[in-house]
Symmetry: C2
Subunit: 608 residues, 2 copies
C-alpha cells in the first residue's frame, strides 16, 4: 500500500490485481487510461518527427526551488504568499518514515521466514508447472501461426547510448572517419584547431593498425569487482580525447560522430524490425545549458528512430563537481537537472527544441557504482540539498528521493497540460547496500539489475507482489559483479518476478553484431530456457518499456494492460495462455493469503 | 610410438616434438612437405573450380576386397598370384594387439596415478602462467597491429551440412520457395507428380503460418540424453517429406533446395571473410552409386566455396540396412563406400566428376549415437566384414578399424599418383564407452567431441602428448549429453590439449545468424576466456582443418607447421608468443620426463 501511494502520485505503474486484493484506492476507480504513465505516440509515417510547430502556449507559471524540490507558482502573488500551485509534493518526513517502516520489515524475523517460505513455494510451484505443462505450452506455441521467438517484439530495456554499439562497430567507425576525413578539424585545444590526423598523431597511433585489442574497451577478467577500471573502458585506447570525440554529444563537432554511430545502431534495429531499445543519454547537472544542448544535438543530427526511446541518466557524481568547485551545493545540481524541464513544460513556445526532444524521452535513470559506501545516513535530519555544501557525496537514497520528488511534481504539472510523463527507472541492487532496493521500492517505476534481491527474501517477495519490473543484464554482471552461473535471473523468472533481459553496454560486454540476441541466446543456452520462457521475458520487456500505449497495443494485443490471460494475445506475444493463467493464479493466491490475514486481523481487533 | 606408426602409415599428423623426444623414426627425416597430409590448394581466382579437364590417365590397376580391405593389383597376373601392389596394409592382428596394449595401459594403477598427477600439474601450471603473464600476453596483443579476434581465421571444424543453416534460415527458405514456386513439381509418389503446394496441402499446413516453433527442429530440454529424439529433429515439422525435399542431395529436384541453402550459408561465410567451415555430407554405403550422385550434385549446383572444405560422414547404421535386406554383409557396405574412390583414383579419366569433387573433400567422419551399446567385442577372432552377415551392428572399434584401413590404402595409392589424401576424423568420446577413444587414438587424425577424455586420465594424457586435435561443441553437448558448465573444454584448453570450437548443428543448437561466433561468444562469456585464449582456439581450428598448406601459410604464417613459438606469426594469429613459448616448453618438459625414464630403464636393463 505504501508503494501504491508513491506510484499513484508519480504516475508510475502499479498492478491492478495487487491493488484490488489490498483494497487500495486505485483498485476500482482507475480506467486503463487514467492514472497510468502516458508516453507520446510515435509520429505517423508521413509526419515530421522534428516538427517544432505544435508547442503549446506559455502558462506564465513561476518555478522556485525550496529544500531541493521545485515548486510551481501560478503568479508573482502566490509566490509571495508561498502558495504553490496545487500539485502533490512528496513529504520528506513521510518518506523517511515509510523508509524506516520497510527497513524494519525486511529485518523482522517472522516476516523473513514467511517470505522465504513463500518464495521457495513459488519456485517449487513453477517446477511443478513446468513438469506438468511444458509440453502443453509448447503445443500451444506450435499451433500459434506466424509468431515465434524471432518475430515477437523485444525491447532492450537497459542500455547506455555511449556503449550501444559493439566494439567492432566503434573500431570500424573510427577507421572510417580517418580514411574519409583525416584533415577535418575535429577539436580545439588552447585556441589551436586540430585535425583528426593530428589527434591520432599526438596519440602516436595509425588507425589502420588499430584493433579491438588496442581499442581496449571490452570488459575482461580485470574488471570483475573493479567498477573504476570498468569506467575507464569508456576511453578508446585509454584516451579521453577519443571518448570526447566519438562518444559525446558535446564537442567541437557538436557530437556528430556519436550521433552518426547511434543512428547506425538505430538503422540495424529498424532493419531487424522486432527489436527496440531504450538508450540512456547523460545529463550531469553541472549547468542548466546541458538540456538545450542535448535537445539541439538530437534535432540537428536527426537522431530520432521509431525503434528507440530515450532515457536520461544522471550520474551520482556531485562530489566530483563539488570538489572541482563547479557547483556550490547539491540543490544547484538538482536545479540544473530539473528547472529546464519545468520551464520547457510551462513555456514550450520558448523552448521548442527541448519540448520536442522530451516527446521522445520517457524516463530518468540514476547511475553510478553502487558499491561505493556513503558515510551519511539519510533521515529527516539530513541537510537539505540547498545547504548540502560539503564535498561528500549524498547517499543513494538521498539521490533517489530528490529525483523522485522532482519527477513527481514535473509529471503532475505535465499531466495537467496533457503532456507526456516520465518514469523513474534507476539502476538499483547491482551492488552495495540492500537499502538501495528499499528506496527504489518506494520511488522507482522499475529498476535495472536488482541482483541483491537475492539477499533479502522480504524485499524479493515485495518486488514480486508489486510486480516491479527488473531489467537484468547477466552478461554485464558476469564481467562486473556476479558470475553468470550464479545470476538469479532464472530463479526470479521462475518465481514470477517481472524480469526482462537487457544488454547494459554492448561495447564492453558483447561479441556479436546482435547484442540483445546474444543476451537472449546465452540465457537460453546456459539456463535451458524454453521458447515460452524467452517469449515471456520479451513480453515483459515491452510492458516495462516506455513505448506508447498505441505501440504496446500493436505489439502485445489490444488488451495488453489487463492482467492475467485476458491481457495476453498469443498471436502477438507467443506466450502460452497456460503460462499466463499460471502466473495470474499464483499471484492471486499469494495476495489472497495476505488479504485474508489482513481481514482476520481486523476481525480480531474488532472482537477484542 | 604406436600412434606415430599409425599416423605415419596413413599420412596423418603427428607432432614432430613428440616424435623427437620418443626417438621415433619420423623425427629427423621428414621435411615438412614429406609424410604429411596433402590437400588440394583452392583454385586460383580466375580458375574454374568445376573444370573437368585435368584428370590424369588410367593406370589400369585392379581392386579387390579381401577381408574388408581393398587391395590394389597392378594387373590380372598379380591379381591371380595374389601379389598386391606394394602399399602398406594395416594388419588386423597388430591392430588388436596394439588396442589391448593401450587398454591395459589405461587401467594400470600406477600409470593412472602418474597421468592424473601430470594433468593436475599441467592445469596448475597454466593457472600460474595466467596469473603471471596474463597482462603481458594482453600487452603483446594490444601492440599487434591490425589483427584482433574478429579478423583471425576461424574454422568450424565440425558441422553437418544438413544442419549448417540455422532454424530461422531454414524457415525463411521454405517460405520463400512456397511463395515463388508453389506449382513446381518437387516430388513423385507412386508415379504421381506432386507440386510444392500439394506437399504442404497433404501436411495440412500453410507455410505462411509456419514458425520456428512449428518447424520444431531446435533441440530443447527434451533431447537431453535422447539421441533418438534429437535425430528426429532433422525432420522439419516432424515430416520426413520435408527433410527429403529440403535437406537431401538426392531427390526429385536433384537436391537443388539443399544446394541453394548450403550456398547461402557459404555466401555468408565468404562475406564474413574470416570464417571457414568443414561441413559433413553423408555417404551411407547402401549402393556404389551414392558417390557419383553426390559428385554430380556438387558440380551441377555449383556448390564449391573457397570458405568450405568437405568431409564425408559415414553413419554407423549397417544394422538398419541389413535388416531391410539392402546389404548382404558389412563388407559390401565398405565396398560401396570405398571402391568408387579407388576406381576414381586409378582411372580419373572415366570418373571425372568424382575426381573433381574429391579435390574438395579432405576427410572422413564416422557418425552415430555412441551411447548405443554393442554386444560384440572386437578381436582378431571377430568375423571378417565379408562374412559379417548378421543383423547386429559391428562395434565402434570395428567400424573405425575398417574405415581407417581402407583410408590408409587409399591415401597411399593417391599419394603415389600425386593426388590429395584424406584424414580420418571420426566422432569420438561424445558418449558411450571410453574404449572408443582408444580406437581413435590409433586410427584418427583428429576427433570430434572427446568429452569422455574427462574420465580417463591416461587417455587424456596420451591425447595431450600426441597433441591430437579435438573439435569440441559445448552447445551441442549442452543439449545432448553434458551441461555447459560441466563441459571440459576450458580445462582441456588450460592443460594444453589441442582443442577447437565447432558448432555441430546450427539448425538444432544456435539462435543467432552467426553460429560459430555464438559458440565462441558463449565460451568466452561463461568461462571468461581471454582474447589470447580465443585466438589460440582459432589457430588450433585452422591447424586441424583440411585447409591446404598454401592457405594455412596465408592464414597462420609461412612457418605454421613448425612447433612452438617459431611456428607462430602473431601478426596473423594474434596469439601471444609468451603463450606459444609456455605451451611448447610445457610439452617438452613432459616429454623429457618420459624420455629420461625410458633412457634410465635402458641403462638399468643394460647394467643388469
Amino acid at each position: 500500500m505504501i508503494r501504491e501511494k508513491y506510484a499513484r502520485l508519480a504516475y508510475h505503474h502499479f498492478p491492478r490485481t495487487t491493488a484490488q486484493y489490498l483494497g487500495c484506492q486505485w483498485a476500482d476507480t482507475a480506467l486503463p487510461e487514467e492514472g497510468r504513465p502516458d508516453f507520446h505516440p510515435p509520429p505517423l509515417p508521413k509526419e515530421d518527427p522534428y516538427c517544432l510547430d505544435d508547442a503549446p502556449p506559455n502558462l506564465g507559471y513561476l518555478v522556485r526551488m525550496q529544500g531541493g524540490i521545485l515548486f510551481v507558482y501560478d503568479n508573482q502573488k502566490t509566490l509571495k504568499c508561498q502558495e504553490p500551485h496545487s500539485l502533490p509534493y512528496p513529504d520528506l518526513e513521510t518518506y523517511t518514515m515509510d523508509m524506516s517502516h520497510i527497513l524494519a520489515l525486511i529485518t523482522d524475523g517472522p516476516t523473513k521466514t514467511y517470505c522465504h517460505r513463500r518464495l521457495n513455494f513459488l519456485e517449487s510451484k513453477f517446477s511443478l508447472h513446468e513438469m506438468l505443462n511444458e509440453m502443453s505450452e509448447f503445443k500451444e506455441l506450435k499451433s500459434n501461426p506466424h509468431r515465434d521467438f524471432y518475430n515477437v517484439r523485444k525491447v532492450d530495456t537497459h542500455i547506455h547510448a555511449a556503449a550501444c554499439m559493439n566494439q567492432k562497430h566503434l573500431l570500424r567507425f573510427i577507421k572510417h572517419t580517418y580514411q574519409t576525413e583525416p584533415d577535418r578539424i575535429v577539436t580545439e585545444k588552447q585556441g589551436r584547431k586540430i585535425t583528426l590526423r593530428q589527434v591520432f598523431d599526438s596519440l602516436h597511433m595509425d588507425p589502420y593498425d588499430l584493433t579491438v585489442d588496442s581499442l581496449d574497451v571490452h570488459a575482461g577478467r580485470q574488471t570483475f569487482h573493479r567498477f573504476d577500471k570498468f569506467n575507464s573502458k569508456y576511453n578508446p585506447v585509454g584516451a579521453s580525447e577519443l571518448r570526447d570525440l566519438y562518444l559525446k554529444t558535446e564537442n567541437y563537432l557538436g557530437g556528430e560522430y556519436f550521433a552518426r554511430m547511434v543512428k547506425e545502431v538505430a538503422q540495424e534495429l529498424e532493419d531487424s524490425k522486432y527489436q527496440y531499445s531504450e538508450p540512456r543519454l547523460s545529463i550531469y547537472g553541472r549547468s542548466p545549458d546541458e538540456w538545450p544542448s542535448l535537445a539541439r544535438w538530437f534535432i540537428q543530427h536527426k537522431v530520432y528512430s521509431p525503434n528507440m526511446r530515450w532515457i536520461i541518466q544522471v550520474p551520482r557524481i556531485y562530489d566530483i563537481f563539488r570538489s572541482k568547485k563547479l557547483l556550490p551545493n547539491f540543490g544547484k545540481m538538482l536545479e540544473n537537472i530539473f528547472l529546464p524541464l519545468f520551464e520547457a513544460t510551462i513555456n514550450p513556445q520558448d523552448h521548442r527544441e527541448l519540448h520536442l526532444f522530451l516527446k521522445y524521452v520517457t524516463g530518468f535513470d540514476s547511475v553510478d557504482d553502487e558499491s561505493k559506501h556513503s558515510e551519511h545516513m539519510f533521515s529527516d535530519k539530513s541537510p537539505c540539498p540547498d545547504v548540502w555544501t560539503s564535498e561528500q557525496n549524498p547517499p543513494y537514497s538521498y539521490y533517489l528521493y530528490y529525483m523522485y520528488a522532482n519527477i513527481m511534481v514535473l509529471n503532475n504539472l505535465r499531466r495537467e497540460r496533457g503532456l507526456s510523463t516520465f518514469l523513474f527507472r534507476p539502476h538499483c541492487g547491482e551492488a552495495g547496500s540492500i537499502t538501495h532496493l528499499v528506496s527504489a521500492f518506494l520511488t522507482a517505476d522499475n529498476i535495472s539489475h536488482g541482483l541483491l534481491l537475492k539477499k533479502s527474501p522480504v524485499l524479493q517477495y515485495l518486488y514480486y507482489l508489486a510486480q516491479i519490473p527488473i531489467a537484468m543484464s547477466p552478461l554485464s554482471n558476469n564481467s562486473l559483479f556476479l558470475e553468470y552461473s550464479k545470476n538469479p535471473l532464472r530463479e526470479f523468472l521462475h518465481k514470477g518476478l517481472h524480469v526482462s533481459l537487457s544488454t547494459d553496454d554492448p561495447m564492453q560486454f558483447h561479441y556479436t553484431k546482435e547484442a540483445l540476441m546474444e543476451e537472449y541466446a546465452i540465457a537460453a543456452q546456459v539456463w535451458k530456457l524454453s521458447t515460452c520462457d524467452l517469449c515471456e521475458i520479451a513480453r515483459n520487456s515491452v510492458l516495462q518499456s516506455g513505448l506508447s500505449h498505441q505501440e504496446k497495443q500493436k505489439f502485445l494485443g489490444p488488451n495488453y494492460y489487463k492482467e492475467g490471460p485476458e491481457g495476453n494475445d498469443i498471436r502477438k506475444t507467443n506466450v502460452a495462455q497456460i503460462r499466463m493463467a499460471f502466473r495470474h493464479e499464483t499471484l492471486c493466491n499469494e495476495l489472497s493469503f495476505l488479504s485474508d490475514a489482513m481481514k482476520s486481523e481486523e476481525i480480531t481487533a474488532l472482537t477484542k
